[in-house]
Amino acid sequence: MASIESTSRTLRRRQGAAAAVPAAREARPVAAPAPGRSVIEFRGVSKRYSGGDVGLDDVTFAIERGEFVFLVGATGSGKSTVMRLLIKELEPTAGTIRVAGHDLGEIKRKRIAYYRRNVGVVFQDFKLLPSRTVYDNVAYALQVTGGTRREIRDKVPDILRLTGLSTKLHNYPDQLSGGEQQRVSIARAFVNHPPLLLADEPTGNLDPETSVDIMRLLYRINRTGTTVLIASHDQTMVDKMRRRVLELAHGRIVRDEATGLYTRDETTREFARRMRAPSARPPGLG
């Protein structure tokens, strides 16, 4: 937990708004979940697109540090809008969004790049750089932050080992399978050890078996203390995971609950075994 605390302090320092974050908050006991400790906080957020479509309609929720949360809903329900708001690709029409205690509306255009370095993002279509090898794709995320050559040599092989890509270092993205490409994209998102990882339909293009592997990887990352928010429409997958679920419909939150019982300290191995088990319904649910 200490490492997240320090990363998020770095996040605050980088955004250069120390005054907005009272120092007392950091002194609070870690165990007590107070609203101020939220990694993500949406308060009355609405997003209306220029064409008149409603992306989000007065959405309020909070996600605590270290949580693993699913965002579900039909196509067009606003999942992607939430994601795009969180990486500040879009601006909300109304309401405030806070990430690690920071109002996104106060981040100036020039500082967006620095903000994004603290949020790992995984996309359905991977969004890898086609002209770079696996190694260079991951290294780019470090080069962007001014990482030294030594740092890159140290960190990149580590993260690629974690994601099981050690043998594919010098392949280009088009030589990899979909699952492998998604692993590269996760490695890239996580190489900076961001306090928050967003995944927009990370398994949308993958077969069920590969999806389990990807979910397992995301779970492993979550167990290092990173808050993970996954947008997904894969209902069985979400049910099996037994994590907190936020459901959106027509831009509104219609469900916010933990599906079934689960133990926070389940190992990744147990997790994977349970995910592959044929009996889909979690015992806690009627």
Partner: protein, 295 residues
């Protein structure tokens, strides 16, 4: 480390997207070639026009009986006329020798020297020649000339006017053409670069999502533009150099326009082409990228 990184990035992207880079390079090559041919031509034309205009002058012919004292007095009077830059005295013996060597048979028949002492009156600016002329031929004076010992003042008003008009036209046309050509080159290069960037806009988008700052993304593109621009210009210079050595230098002895001393020096031309090629391409890349950076 940063510069090295940007340089490596630029070279990598050129290698990986060879076709668009080559298109940009070819565009720079062609436009620089055209400019490289056009600039000396414009300069030679201007030089020729100016030297023609510079030869515009008023001739003052003395009476045959004029003495050296008369010549000295007239010289003084001519120099006092406004807009006169200088006076050139040609004694009749010298004029005779010059003419006789040009047309020896005709002058051998003549026997004696029919030529008068002559003053070439040079105006300060070619366009003032008519003012000088009218000052030398005041309407009220004796015989219509300034001094009694002057026989006549050359009357080439219509010729002078024509020369001045033509040279002005040539100069202005050349200037307009140069501006148009430079503009066209810039647009052509910028558009080609924009096309090659358009092919890579998704890459730029991904870079932004990973948290790259605008300039972090932009520098490699600017350096790439610089490299493409200078290589294109360098190739153009090689072609121009080869043409100059193979074609122009042998011809220069027969064709005075090419040998005109006022054309731009080859070294200067090389620097101008190289500099403008690199600069236009670099700025073009940097500016064209702006649209794609808005993610």
């Amino acid at each position: 480390m940063r510069l090295g990184f940007f340089l490596k990035e630029a070279i990598r992207s050129m290698r990986r997207s060879a076709a668009p880079s080559f298109a940009a390079l070819a565009t720079v090559l062609v436009t620089m070639l055209v400019l490289g041919v056009f600039i000396p031509i414009v300069q030679a034309t201007n030089g020729a026009a100016n030297s023609v205009a510079g030869r515009v002058m008023v001739d003052v012919y003395m009476k045959t009986g004029a003495t050296a004292a008369d010549d000295a007095r007239v010289r003084g009077e001519l120099l006092r006329v406004p807009h006169v830059k200088g006076v050139e005295f040609v004694p009749k013996q010298q004029a005779y020798q010059a003419q006789a060597s040009q047309y020896p048979q005709a002058y051998a028949l003549l026997g004696s020297n029919p030529l008068p002492d002559t003053f070439h009156v040079i105006p300060d600016k070619p366009s003032n020649v008519l003012l000088v002329h009218s000052a030398l031929t005041p309407p009220g004076a004796s015989g219509g000339v300034l001094d009694p010992s002057i026989q006549s003042v050359s009357n080439k008003q219509s010729d002078t006017k024509k020369i001045l008009e033509v040279t002005n036209l040539v100069t202005i046309t050349a200037a307009v053409l140069t501006v148009l050509l430079v503009l066209a080159s810039m647009l052509l290069i910028a558009n080609t670069i924009r096309l090659s960037l358009y092919a890579r806009r998704r890459e730029v988008e991904v870079m932004k999502l990973v948290g790259a700052t605008d300039w972090f993304i932009r520098w490699p593109f600017v350096i790439e533009g610089m490299i493409v621009g200078s290589v294109g210009a360098l190739l153009a210079i090689c072609v121009l150099g080869a043409t100059k050595i193979a074609l122009l230098d042998p011809l220069a002895s027969n064709w005075t326009l090419i040998a005109a001393p006022r054309t731009i020096g080859f070294v200067v031309l090389v620097i101008v082409l190289l500099g403008s090629g690199a600069l236009v391409s670099a700025v073009g890349s940097g500016l064209s990228l702006r649209r794609f950076l808005k993610v």
